[in-house]
């Protein structure tokens, strides 16, 4: 099974600030980590290849320093990694990003399965996985919480939704986006970790994946961020109840009754 796992490097914290002049995120000095959901996507890819044979490629689009995240992917079990890096891809929205990634997946060739994390914790959009599926014309299963059965022709998966879940059979090639329920990522072996530090990271350009640059980058993106701001701070006046359990409970019930019909 030839599997591609899409990986994003994200700030290690969501507590980010905006430069008041440029209105852009201040990225300097912010720790960068692998998007937490992507670790589950990668583990699922590795598990499938252990079962069926094949290889897992970790694919990331981003700046040069995304290399670090790809080295991490190697340590966690990816067989190979590719960094998609080109100025023409900078500032891409989810449409442009999923287009560029789909072009890279075409370039890799003969891919059976693409696995993405449910969403990235910076943008929180959950749009790139389904977007890749649409660009490739492949079926998709989003919010996958369990892989029930797999063979070379297809997968049986459980998808989670707000009011319950469903089970579907999906024929390959296909795209999955996964939840953290699906597995428990392994700890990387020391040997892999050491090797990943020395590995050569192949860098692919927009022209190498034959991307139409009218559809990539800031200019190729249908959506544009016009303003960003910090949310209004919570009106913070904390009422502290530290008396007896019965006293606190009765005080709280009064407060609850003033806010809702009980």
């Amino acid at each position: 099974m030839k599997i591609v796992v899409c990986i994003k490097q994200v700030p290690g914290t969501t507590n980010v600030s905006i430069d008041p002049e440029t209105k852009r995120l201040i990225r300097e000095g912010v720790e960068i980590v692998m998007n937490p959901f992507d670790a589950y996507a990668l583990e699922e890819g590795v598990l499938l290849c252990e079962k069926h044979g094949g290889e897992v490629t970790a694919l990331s689009m981003g700046p040069k320093r995304a290399e670090l995240t790809l080295r991490e992917a190697l340590a966690y079990g990816a067989d190979r990694v590719i960094l998609l890096n080109d100025r023409a891809l900078g500032g891409s929205d989810t449409f442009a990003t999923s287009y560029a990634l789909s072009q890279a997946i075409r370039k890799i060739g003969d891919v059976d399965l693409v696995i993405c994390g449910k969403q990235a914790i910076d943008g929180d959009t959950a749009q790139v996985g389904p977007g890749i599926a649409a660009h490739l014309g492949w079926p998709q299963a989003a919010y996958v919480s369990r892989l029930i059965k797999s063979d070379d022709s297809g997968l049986t998966v459980e998808r989670m939704h707000e009011a319950g879940n469903d089970i579907c059979i999906i024929k390959l090639p296909a795209v999955l986006t996964v939840l953290k329920d699906i597995n428990t990522p392994r700890m990387p072996a020391l040997k892999r970790r050491l090797a990943s530090g020395k590995a050569e990271i192949p860098v692919w350009s927009a022209s190498f994946i034959k991307a139409d640059t009218a559809k990539t980058g800031l200019d190729g993106s249908p959506t544009r961020v016009v303003t960003t701001r910090k949310p209004a701070a919570r009106d913070k006046h904390t009422v502290i109840l530290n008396g007896s359990a019965a006293g606190s409970a009765s005080e709280l019930v009064k407060i609850l009754k003033s806010r809702i019909k009980l």
Partner: protein, 356 residues
């Protein structure tokens, strides 16, 4: 669809709402969005109608109700192939209809269905999509849709435009807009569309679908969420959390620590790797308040925390912080609430009896 000149942009009109119709029921977010669509359509530069698009099997009965909630036109696609949620079939049909009728705006709920299908539709019709919006408005002068959404776990609020592509698409969080008061005399035009044979050919099939009967489980629908964390100490402690949730007619949430310990299922997890919620009242019991948890609930209207540790981060965020042992405090709360309900019930009964 790319706008190439001003003439082209005039061919796009109307505000569409993609209804969420699952398990034979219309999701409440649909009515909320119809109300929002009405407000948007009134502000658009060109005269626009509110159009509700509903796909599924047995959609006929739902159509009439959409007219009570501001819809001027209802497009129904009623087909057995749409009985279960098959992203491929849904997206093919929706994108064909979008290309045919050319709406100016298309919105859907930011539910797992909405967030799975809309990105697919956006790519198929070649336009932008803004996820998980918490505000929509029309820009004065340009008539463009201003889409506001949180990112970085709610630490940044961005406003986004889609200038040169149509339709302008967004998924919108549940509970952001209020459903309008239904007008039972509302009526309008029904357009029946169907699924083409070619669209039914798909490589994915849903073989089983289950809807949880336990209403309390649905975090995103709940006005009140009672969450248990590490301090709940085990599955038994969650029985108490569930009882409080039940008395308050709320849902049960859990921190990652509680889920990872196997005390409760992942469906309940609130936070960065779980669900983002914004109920009217959030009660955190034995939750310390790691940043990853706060990210998923800090937009709640009113936050109550019960914790032994007065210095826990959740206590600083809370509107009401109860310092104490949750195993003593929560049973007291439950007792008081239950007796309160009993008393109200008695009062009601006496009033009813005195009327007889």
């Amino acid at each position: 669809m790319i706008l190439r000149d001003s003439e082209n942009s005039c061919t796009f009109k109307d505000v569409w709402v993609l209804a969420e119709f699952a398990g034979g029921k219309v999701h409440n977010v649909t009515y909320e969005l119809l109300g929002a669509a009405k407000k948007l359509s009134d502000k658009l530069l060109r005269k626009s109608r509110v159009v509700c698009l509903v796909l599924g099997e047995g959609t006929g009965t739902a159509a009439e109700k959409f007219f009570h909630y501001c819809a001027d036109v209802v497009i129904t696609v009623d087909d057995v192939s749409l009985k279960t949620f098959n992203d491929t079939v849904y997206a093919s049909v929706i994108s064909r209809l979008v290309k045919k009728y050319k709406p100016e705006i298309l919105i859907s709920g930011a539910t797992s269905r909405g967030r799975s299908i809309m990105p697919r539709v956006a790519v198929l019709v070649e336009t932008g999509l803004t996820a998980d919006c918490t505000g929509l408005d029309i820009e004065e002068g340009t008539g463009l849709l201003l889409q506001t959404r949180p990112a970085y776990g709610g630490n940044i609020i961005a406003t986004i435009k889609c200038e040169h592509h149509r339709p302008q698409m967004s998924t919108v969080r549940q509970g952001v807009f209020k459903a309008p008061v239904p007008d039972n005399s509302g009526t309008g035009e029904v357009i029946e569309e169907n699924v083409l044979e070619a669209e039914k050919k798909t490589r994915i099939s849903v073989i089983e679908e289950s809807f949880s009967e336990d209403k309390g489980i649905n975090l995103s629908d709940a006005d009140i969420i009672v969450t248990g964390g590490r301090g709940v100490k085990g599955p038994k402690g969650f029985n108490m959390i569930a009882e409080l949730a039940k008395v308050l007619k709320g849902a049960v949430g859990a921190s990652r620590a509680a889920v990872d310990s196997g005390w409760i299922s992942y469906t309940h997890q609130v936070g960065q790797t779980g669900r983002t919620v914004q109920p009217k009242i959030y009660i955190a019991c034995g939750v310390s308040g790691q940043i990853q948890h706060l990210t998923g609930m800090q937009s709640s209207d009113f936050i109550i925390a019960v914790n032994k540790d007065a210095e826990a981060p959740i206590m600083k965020l809370a509107d009401v912080a109860i310092v104490g042992d949750l195993f003593e405090v929560i049973p007291e709360i439950i007792k008081l609430l239950k007796s309160g309900i009993q008393a109200d019930f008695k009062k009601l009964k006496t009033t009813a009896e005195s009327r007889d």
